[in-house]
Each structure stands twice: as structure tokens, then as C-alpha cells.
């Protein structure tokens, strides 16, 4: 059963993603901020990370860079969740090693589709 970590400061969004992914057969872990997210990755070793960009303390890019800095997480699929839908931001994310992108406000079904695709 694939394990997905969602790092998202907004509990509602986290909950929606959690419900949808669980319903689609994923095990979902939630981390409320960047720091917790990093810790959760190390602790739970998820198969995929859904990473929000705009977060307090440590934003999504910082978390992504930290993960990519560790060899064991270099290839870990990371899908960014961002309110910024512009190409420049997407390019920024890809440069830092993002696997894919989902633009807010997203449809939960779209997230499931992208996660499944990233894990294939």
C-alpha cells in the first residue's frame, strides 16, 4: 500500500487530500509544516510527498532542497501544491527537483491522478 506524506499548513486541504487518497488505497501521513514534513519523511519514509509551497517557518522549496540534499531522498517523488500557477514558479520548482505540480484550487481527483502517475 503506497505511503503518501502530505506537508500542508492548511488542515482543511490536508484533510481533503487525505480522504481522497485514502479512498483510493493510499496510506496518508500529514505534516503541518516544513520542519515536521522533513522529520516525517525521515521517520516514515513515504513513497511520495505532496508538498505545499506557501508555508510558514520553512516553505516548500526549502523542504525540497533539504530532501534532495540527502542521497536517500534524492529520487523521492515530490509533487508541489501551490497557489502560484505561473510558469516561472513551476520552473523554479522543477529546478529544485520537483516531480510534478498541482495548482490550487485543485480538484482532489486530479491530485490522485498525478500521484498515481508519479508512482508508476
Amino acid at each position: 500500500m503506497p505511503k503518501v506524506l502530505i506537508v500542508e499548513d492548511d488542515p482543511q486541504i490536508a484533510r481533503i487530500v487525505q480522504i481522497k487518497l485514502t479512498n483510493n488505497g493510499f496510506t496518508v501521513i500529514h505534516a503541518p509544516d516544513g520542519g515536521a514534513g522533513l522529520a516525517a519523511v525521515r521517520e516514515h519514509r513515504p513513497d511520495l510527498v505532496l508538498l505545499d509551497v506557501m508555508m510558514p517557518v520553512m516553505d516548500g522549496y526549502q523542504v525540497l532542497r533539504s530532501l534532495r540534499a540527502e542521497p536517500e531522498f534524492a529520487k523521492l517523488p515530490v509533487i508541489m501544491l501551490t497557489a502560484k500557477g505561473q510558469e516561472r514558479d513551476i520552473l523554479h520548482g522543477f529546478k529544485d527537483g520537483a516531480t510534478d505540480y498541482v495548482v490550487k484550487p485543485f480538484s482532489p481527483a486530479e491530485v490522485v491522478a498525478r500521484v498515481q502517475r508519479a508512482l508508476r
Binding site: 482543511q12 481533503i16 481522497k20 497557489a83 490550487k104 480538484s107
Partner: protein, 838 residues
Amino acid sequence: MQWLRNLPLHFKIASVGGLVILLMLLALTFSTSSVNALTASQKEQQVTVEVVHHIEQLLTDLVDMETGVRGYVIAGNREFLEPFEVGMMQHSEHLTQLEELMSDDSSQLDRLARIRTLIGRWHDEVLLPEIALVEGQQKEAAVAMVQSKAGKAIMDQIRSLIGEVNAVKQRQAADLAAQVTRTAEQSRNRTFGAALGAVLLSTLAAYALARSITRPILGLMDAAEQVATGGAGYQVPVGAQDEVGRLATAFNRMSDSLMHQQVEMSAQNEELHAQQEMLTHTMAQLERDSDRLRRLNQFSRSMVSTDIPSLSRRLLADLLAASGAQVGALALLDSTGDLKIQAQVGLTEAAAAAPRVTGLFQEALTADEPLAVTYPNGALLRPVYHTDLPVEHELYVPIRFGGETLAVAALGRTGPAPFPQEDIHWLTIMAAQAAATLSNTLGYEKLSEAFTDLQDSAAHIEELSAQIEEERDRVRAQRDNLRAILQSTSEGVCLVSLSGLPILVNDQFWHLFGADSRQELTMDELGELIRPRLKHPKAAGSFIQAMLSQTTSTDVLEFAEPEYRVLHRFTTPVFAEDGKLLGSLFVLRDVTREAEIDRMKTEFISTVSHELRTPLTAIRGYVDLILDGDVGPISDEQREFLDLVSRSTVRLANLINDLLDVEKIEQGRIHIRQEEVNAAALLRDVVETFRVSAADKGLTCDVTVEGALPPVYGDPDRITQVFSNLLSNAVKYTKAGGITIRAAADADRLTFTFADTGIGVAPDHLPSLFEKFYRVDNQYTREVGGTGLGLAITKAIVEHHGGTIEVQSEVGTGTTFVVTLPAHRGITSPSAGNPAHS
């Protein structure tokens, strides 16, 4: 005889002298021979005398002998024998003497020999026997013997012979004497003759010599006198080759040479004469020419102030007078290039009034020399001259000035003599002179016109001057006002000349840099002044660059010292009214506070949009979860309502996207792809996507693309967005009628017109139409809905492509949007394009 005459003169004189001497010698010889003859005769006479003497002696001897013997015989005394013996001895001697004297005469010698023989015989046969008989005492025998006369016969013979010798001698002597006399006479005669001959001959020779000398000399003298009196070429006959002959030859040569010289001189003389004549002729000609020139000069001078018609008349009259022509016409080339009669004498009315003249006039126009035409027998066919004069010769004189033919004068005269060449030549000169006058007059007329214009202008100028004065006062006042405004404005203004010096600066300009307003700084000094104060010192370079360039540009300068300050710079070239570049105008505005507000606004919008998206995401997420059946089944009505919620959420999200777009575009952060875009094709595609929605509302949708449009350099997605926004609006705000879309291009721009027959926009709303969130609030717009950002984004995109967007509208009639985009001509000129790309 010629050789004689050719002898040199001294030789001749010597010859004559010699001849005389010769004759004298001859005379001398003759006289000498005469003397010799006389001498010989005298000798002969002496010989004769001696002969006679010896003969007498001989006879004496003989007588002595005979007598002696006879005595002896008779006397018988021996004493008588002595004469005999002496005679016997002496007669031989006398005979020898005679023989010697006449040794040259054989007959005499013969006679003498016979005498000697006879004497011998006589001696032996007579005398000796007789002596012997005496001696023998036979005296009678001896006397008988003497008486027998034997001795006497012999003695007679001897005596005869001696007589003969004597006679011969005597005859010879007489002959000799006669001969001597003759000879002497002859001699005398000869001598005399010779002397006479010598005198005569010498006289003759002298005369001949004198004559032979004097005659040629006299001839020479005569000739010399002849030559002296001008008889050149006089030839002396050269008789001989002597000195005189040579002199004569020399004289002849001299005479010849003189004659040649004289001939030459006379030829020269003739030539001089001819020259003098020519000179006289030329003088007369010159005088005539001078007269003509003077008249022409007067003519020219009198022409200056006159007008063309009277000048033409006078010119023609003068040409007629100068050429002796009776009729003529002067045609002037007018501005249209036609020759028109200006003056004429003896022309028919029709010919004079012709709008233009052609034919020979036209030919003369391009001819280098006057054109002479002859009409034999007065056969001038054209009815040009109404005079009764039978014109036989015509002369067409082109009047040319500065290589340009101004006019042609035609001159006609009666025959039979044609125009003299001299006259033609003179006419050419006159034509040239007249051409200058004509040209001057033409110029003068133009000048007069110009002068009149000028006078009009002057009056006008005076008026203008007053106006200008007024205007200047006004401008002065305006300038003072401007200065006051300039000083009172909060913006720093500086006009920089082309050479980079500030011409017009307000105090505020310097104050913005914290500099003293009294400072007169060059651009370099200004650069040095601001460099340390800038937040990014490197920006100073581009700032100064901008001040010195003549293009419109703007940017923002951030100062760190003496306090944080943001200046907005605007630079634009300034042109005078005549289009001449004066320099660049700088306007610096302190936008520190505006920048801060802007920054805060951007941050705010960014935050708000983020904060909006988060709940929106939650709403959409939950709704979708319910709709997807993730949380259990729902009723159809629930599904319908949730669906509405979901769509509204999406719209709200789009609104937020637009908001971010506007914000990003305004901050220059929009990313515009750069490529060649076929805008016409894009337009057609976009129109097609709207055709269904337009048709749904019963609207027509016509698109016209005029010709082949050049490409646009830019982002096809953004351009699509522009077309889409405008069409969307047009469809949205049009109830009936239709939408007309037109695309066209000129050299450097593409123009897209979107005209609808919609509700229109009230004039007071028009200026704000492109502002963000500006919405014309009325019932209809509320029904239609919208973010109020579409046009703002459209304008931003168009302007980022270097284009423009304008709107015209009338309420109830419709709205027209005109979008222009720069054409891409294959030259990469991103300057107008895209700051985000740089």
C-alpha cells in the same frame, strides 16, 4: 680672240709694252744690218782697192820683168836683170795676195791661176831663154827673139786676164757699192718703217689696251650710273674674263642682286601697299564696327530698363538696319519652349499672330550659325510677308546666351546679292550682344516681378514683424511662466543640449541629487556626483548614457544616500517645430513614496490572493469530494447545487489568476515568449471559437484580413489572449447585430479592429475602461458579470508587445477597439519588446 681678251689686264699691258720693245728691237736690228751692210761694202771696196793695187803692182812687176829682160837683152848688163828678179819675186806675192783677197770667188781664182800659169810660161819660155841667149852671147838671137813677139803674145794674154780680173773686180766693186747703197737705203727704210711701225703699233696697242680697259670700265661706269639712278638689273656685257670682266661679272651679280632686292622690295612695297590698303580697309571696317559697336552699346544701354516687346522691336530694327534687310521677325522662346513672334516688320497679320513659329525658326534654334536661305527667282512660297518686295534671301540668326538659345531673328531681303558674309558675321556678334541684353532684360523682368513680390512680401513682413513682436512678447511671458512652472514643480526637469550640456534646469533637478542648485555641472560631473549615492553605483553609467541619448526611455533609480530615495526618470528627445533635434528632456520624479505604496500593494495583493486561494481550495476540494461520492451518495438536487458551488469557485480562482496576471504584468514580470507569430491566422482561429457563442445570440461575426499580413514578434498565447478578451467582451455586450473584425497592415504596423453593435460605453467611462477592476456598473453588466481585469490585462499585453490599444464607443450604437502591433520585418529589434526578457 676670246682667250686674248680673257688675258689678265697686267698681262695685256705687259704684252703691249713687250710688243713696242720688240718693234724697237726690230728697228734696231734693221739699222744694225744696214750698218753691217755698209761696213761689208766698205770692206769690199777696200778689198777692191787692194785688188786694184795688187793688180797694178802685178802689172808693174810684169813690166819690170819685161823691161829688165829687155834691157838686159839690149844692154846685156846684168844690172838690168835686177827689176826682173824683183818682179819675179814680187808678182807671186801679189798673186797670192790677190788669191787671198778673192778666195771666195772661184772664177777670179781660176783667172789668177791662169795668170800664174801664163806668167810661169812666159818666164820659162820667153824670159829665161832670152836671158840664157844673152848669157850665151847670142845677143842677136835674143834680140830676134825679142822681136819675134813671142813674149808679147803671152804678155797680152796675161794682160787680158789681169784686165779681166780687174774688170770683174771693178764690176764686183761697183755691184757691191750699188748693193750697199741699196741695202743702206733699204735699211734706212726698214728702220724707219720699224720705228714708225713701233710707234704706230704701240699707239694702237696703247689705244687698244686703253680701250679694252676703259670701254668696260666706262660701261661699268655707265651701268653704275644707271644703277645709281635706279636702273637696277642693268647688265654689263662681259667681254672677257679679265679683272674688268670679273668686275663686270661682280657688278652684274651686284646689279642682279640689287635687282632682286629691288624686285623683292617692290614686292614688299606692293605687299606693304596692300597691307596699307587692307589697313585702311580694316580701319574703315573698324570704324564701321566701332560705329556699330557704339550704336549697339547705346542700344544695349538703352535696353536695360526697357520691356521685352520694345526691346524686341528695337533689336529687330537694329538687325534689319545692320543687315540691309527689308523685312524680318524676332521670335522669343517662351517658358513652354515655343517660339513666339515678339516683333516683326512686313509680316502678314496671320503670320505675326501665330501662337508659335516652327520650320526654319525651329531649325535655327539648334543651329550653331545663322541659317541663310535663298529663294531663287523670288520664289518664296509661304505667304509670310505682305510686302510687295520679292524676298529672295532669308537669314535666321539664333540669339544665344550662355549656351541657351533665347530667340531667333529672321531677316529677309530682296535679291540678287545674298547677305554678305561680313554682315552675317556682324549679325552673329550683334546677336551675341543682343542675347546678353535680352537675357538681362528677361532676367530684369523676372527680377521686376520678384521685386514686386518682394515689395508685397516686405509689407507682409512688416505685418508679420509686428505679429512676431507680439508673439515674442507672448513667448517671453510664456517662457517666464514656464520658468515659474518649472521652478514650482516638484519634478526635476533638465534640458540637455546635443553637446551634453544642461540648457534649462530647475532647482528641483539638483535638489533631487542633494546638489546645490547654483552648480553648473556637466553630465560627467553629474555622474560623479550621483555615483556614490546610488544603491547600485553601476546604474550611474546607464543614467548618464540615457541623458546623452536621443531616445525616449524611462527607468527607476534607487538612491541609498543621503536617504533611501527612488527616482523615476523619463527621457525624451526634444524637437523644434521644424523637426530639428534640440536635445533631450529629463524629468525626474521622486517616486520613493509611490514605490513603497506599490510594493505594499503588490505584497498585499499577493497575500490576499494566496489567502483567498487557500479557502477556495478547501471549498472546491470538499465539494468535489462530495460530488465524486467520496463521502457517500448525494441527491440530484444536491449535486446540482454543489456543481454551481464548484463552478463559482473556479470562476473565483480565475479572478484571482487574472489579478495575479495584472500584478505581474504591471511589475514587468510577465513572461512573453518571443517568436514570429502569424497574427492573422491566430485571429481567424480565435474568431472560430467564438462563432458558436455568437451564433447562439443571433450575432453575425465577420472577419476580413486585407492582404498578406507581416508577422508579429511575440507570444502567440498572449496575443490569443488579447483577441480572445476583445471578442469575448464584444459577444458579451452585444444583444443584436454583429461583430466585424478587420485586420490590415501598413509598412510597420498591423492594425486589428474589433467593432461591435453592442450597448456601448458612455463617454465618461471611456478613459477608465482599461483600468483594473473598472467596471461600468449597470443592470446589463451586472447580468453579464466579469472580473474587471480583462481590458487591463489586454492593454498590458499589447503594450508589452510594443503596440497600442484604443477604444471608440457610443452608447446604444456600439464599441470599436483598435489594436496595433509592430510588424516584424526580420530584423531583431527587441528594444520595444520586453524588459522581462532582458
